[in-house]
Subunit: 712 residues, 2 copies
Amino acid sequence: MNQAWWSTFIAPATWRLRWEDRLSPGLHEADIVVLGSRKPEEIPLTWIQPGTTVLNCSHDFLSGKCLHIGNMVSSGRRWLREQQHRRWRLHCLKLQPLSPVPSDIEISRGQTPKAVDVLAKEIGLLADEIEIYGKSKAKVRLSVLERLKNQADGKYVLVAGITPTPLGEGKSTVTIGLVQALTAHLNVNSFACLRQPSQGPTFGVKGGAAGGGYAQVIPMEEFNLHLTGDIHAITAANNLLAAAIDTRILHENTQTDKALYNRLVPLVNGVREFSEIQLARLKKLGINKTDPSTLTEEEVSKFARLDINPSTITWQRVLDTNDRFLRKITIGQGNTEKGYFRQAQFDIAVASEIMAVLALTDSLADMKARLGRMVVASDKSGQPVTAEDLGVTGALTVLMKDAIKPNLMQTLEGTPVFVHAGPFANIAHGNSSVLADKIALKLVGEEGFVVTEAGFGADIGMEKFFNIKCRASGLVPNVVVLVATVRALKMHGGGPSVSKLHYVKTELNGCCNLQKQIQIAQLFGVPVVVALNVFKTDTRAEIDLVCELAKRAGAFDAVPCYHWSVGGKGSVDLARAVREAASKRSQFQFLYDVQVRSIVDKIRTIAQAVYGAKDIELSPEAQAKIDRYTKQGFGNLPICMAKTHLSLSHEPDKKGVPRDFILPISDVRASIGAGFIYPLVGTMSTMPGLPTRPCFYDIDLDTETEQVKGLF
Amino acid sequence: MNQAWWSTFIAPATWRLRWEDRLSPGLHEADIVVLGSRKPEEIPLTWIQPGTTVLNCSHDFLSGKCLHIGNMVSSGRRWLREQQHRRWRLHCLKLQPLSPVPSDIEISRGQTPKAVDVLAKEIGLLADEIEIYGKSKAKVRLSVLERLKNQADGKYVLVAGITPTPLGEGKSTVTIGLVQALTAHLNVNSFACLRQPSQGPTFGVKGGAAGGGYAQVIPMEEFNLHLTGDIHAITAANNLLAAAIDTRILHENTQTDKALYNRLVPLVNGVREFSEIQLARLKKLGINKTDPSTLTEEEVSKFARLDINPSTITWQRVLDTNDRFLRKITIGQGNTEKGYFRQAQFDIAVASEIMAVLALTDSLADMKARLGRMVVASDKSGQPVTAEDLGVTGALTVLMKDAIKPNLMQTLEGTPVFVHAGPFANIAHGNSSVLADKIALKLVGEEGFVVTEAGFGADIGMEKFFNIKCRASGLVPNVVVLVATVRALKMHGGGPSVSKLHYVKTELNGCCNLQKQIQIAQLFGVPVVVALNVFKTDTRAEIDLVCELAKRAGAFDAVPCYHWSVGGKGSVDLARAVREAASKRSQFQFLYDVQVRSIVDKIRTIAQAVYGAKDIELSPEAQAKIDRYTKQGFGNLPICMAKTHLSLSHEPDKKGVPRDFILPISDVRASIGAGFIYPLVGTMSTMPGLPTRPCFYDIDLDTETEQVKGLF
């Protein structure tokens, strides 16, 4: 249908129009209103909701009856569904910043969020594309990607940081401040994509993770607690697989081939049948049969026995709780387990490979395939045993079917945020989900911006973002925002170890770390804008010096930011700089070719080009694992380094830009479903603990007002 | 304001009215429409949504201006908010039953549920009283109880059963069939209140738990998986408390009094302050001070040390997974735990005391108090140590703040269902939540019915419903529906052990079990209607005989039910019988006085009066625990027997009505927060396992249609 037959516009807040025809069947109320006249003001007045899309077509055309109104409406609707590149008419929430800045939860509580369905509509989501969870959270269905598949993507901005202090330098806060500036102050479509935090640290030492000050996701307690249950779903799926492994070993150890087979393929109403996943296993084993009664004894044994070698099990149980007593445990000590106890451990839930799968997948079918591919152990002949072999792929997918949908929330200024996936940055890639970024890039439209955050310093989070996440997604980043603080630069310059509210001034020769991180981003061909997160103790001279040094090191621009104390308007300069940097053509390239280079070669490339190491040194164990993974056919996966984030080197106390060090690789592991090999540089704890005075001492609920207290 | 000034009515589906005045500020769209005329038909037409409440008042009255329309509207609104005793205009979903009856998930998928906000409105919930989770689930806020506090309760019906076979006799199915009959066929307001099933068995042997055949809660996969995350919240809260216990012991063992105190009450910006929960602890310890610097050395030690005796810890970790290898484990074997390993276990999440608290609480403040009261261990002097002592009450409450709101879903015929709480019936009381029942009783109005289900046979589930749940809630039950099957009665009559699809006919002298269970209900003064859940293999003569024998044993009525094969219309006779029984005045009484009788005496009363035991026999351990709990001041709690559900006695294979047995009490435990003492009659497993071929082999997700397959 010819578009020229009508025009569309958005009903402004000041208008009250009467509609000629309102579409009810199958169409969400007031999604579209059709006018049969050129001049809306000629039409008798009644209410139209501001923000409604209006299709205006000529009255002559309508009365000419050359097209039935219903057809026109349905064509119009289709046309509208495929068009998204408009500037949002977003109702932004006003901020009235106080000084001194109140606590995060007080600021969050002081702002009333928009109803999430209103926000969803404002950014062009259709009613059938969202699933509301309470008043302020919604899941977004993946069908939106199909609807908008012809829509050009927006600009893709990564927020990374310099090597941080243990307190962090405010990457989340910069991410949120930047989108607040872009959308609420420069009227540019933008989306922030954040990771969901683990609930463990929320009750331990860390408190909330929704940004801070006047740059936050609200309601911050919803962000920090449960959200829509994605991490709980991961816990359930992870632990079902763990239970399946040990139970299977027990049953194989205590039953004959025949008994096992009779139980695995039982006689039901006189008929024996393979389930679909069992047929897939037969195929994998090269047994080309579908009738259970025709298997030879040898085939029965091959089918029924996974022959898992318990000492090779790499799949751990998980909890989303900081429980240090589960770091090393012995399981299976009950009489019912007949002596098959073994040593095991619990990790924090976000360290589950399933979290990394969720973060890297791009569709339901892909997620299912990745879940099935996850390797949990080797069998006694050294072959990998997968979730698929255990028959649990479908069940894991069912448990994860809602978790795959990104969660929509909003900033303090009412701009949209996706919160989705939070893979543990110590042993996984530490970036939010590919799917959230992909959907957001469509929703903002070609002129819009998606700002996503990488965990830890740029040497870790950004490197993994480029080499792992962008490789999985196929998305091309346009700009890197590199967050720095004067506090951290002083530490790199030889200042004393930082304590929460105390540091001394030293020369800013720690800028070497900033310069090095800028150069790392440039390795990938992406322009860098340095965001200096300003603290009230920073002097003008310090701020100017850092910005000057950053530009000299090759940054496209470097600007001080004040979003923490005043919200988006404190980051307008940053937003302008990012917009300008994004207007350049991206020269993005990967650091290594994943197919051609060997595992060792890839590790060495990262160590030398990114960290500045002289070379790497593999332990015998690491070398053996590399040989095994290569033999098993996993040599062509990208590398996910598990290294301290507190130094460019493997030693946390080596600040600045360490040189001439040899990077020791103590062990190598594999997340085959997620799709990477992860070398361990030193020991990585995968289960945090609680301190003597955990922050839960301050957390409380006012049972009258239902307000949460003590989250910060 | 005088109500006579207006009348209210519901706009029928065929009407299109124009409204004179529409209330927007603060009022949900179309909650109320006010007409300024006596005759609606005189008013120019536009749309009014069917089901809208219309306030009609005289035009003369309005033009007389004796009352401002705004005031009238707001009074009218208040009046309406407080009135609920109208008959719902529920849009019921039509059923077209097939023969043979398809699988549960096929039936569930064949029906499109109403949008849950539509259902909520139909049953009189206001827009601000629900929180929608996806399309078909909503949480209901507790504020509705305050709004409707003057509304008389509906009739309260308990569904219990005879001593079941291991396959169950269909109590959930009867519960749902009964409400479908009441509301969809007899046009009586009714609500079903069900437990949320544990996800562990869903992937193990059991499959779904949403009813069956044409009497189900839909969508059944939403019911069975995650729901709105309540069990996940319980898992998180339970395990935070568990982690706090072990970490505290470690920190106390490795730090001096002073170091502990300095960490518990740290210097922040030069100031030391107690948190609220620490002030509460000081008060409990009798230390009347608020300035941390003024405590004596002895007081510091008392405050800082809980001195938990590790061998007395009763608080276990939980997972919602069938993981038998966690039944007995050793924790704390990592070097970081410095040798403080100990033996522990994981239970299935629904066995957590927090689940029992959720099921028995009646408000947020009460839940917080119960969570704080939970006893986790004794200290070295034998005093109970609580969650409150560990400083975690507020955090637990915050984690549970959404779980406390009942979950609204619907039956296959579109009638309302609450799904809320599912305490493990083996060691807890096995009944759905007090709050769901209370809210439902208000929503159905005085003439309506709330049908709630008790776990296991009447000797267990019903006894606990009366003595524990009704005692906690203060609610008075009107009718007991006792579910029986010919299959189970044959087993009680000496038929062979039942296997899934095979049993032989024997005489129905197993009716003795039914007669005994009827008599148990009569002990509590509540009339019994027997619901015979008919299977296609049952003969007319068998059905008649069971009904006849039931009535002779004192049942108010006994009727065969066919809801499984045809939906609500197959249970209309049952619904009529229940309605008639409910018209009698309830003579409800507890079995024992909880304050006056000792723990032993209460246990003996249940054993003798309910189970028919000759006496009880306490192990020395049980006696010691009873002495301890009595000394600790817990002697006045009700009793929650942990006994096999497969026999009236403690021996599962003693069918019918066992006599002359001595009930052995092997141990006694306490759930102080939930508010009961639970004697163990034999060993109770609190962690199920997976079979060799778990049902997850059949569970799958179609990644194109997003449909779940293989749940049954």
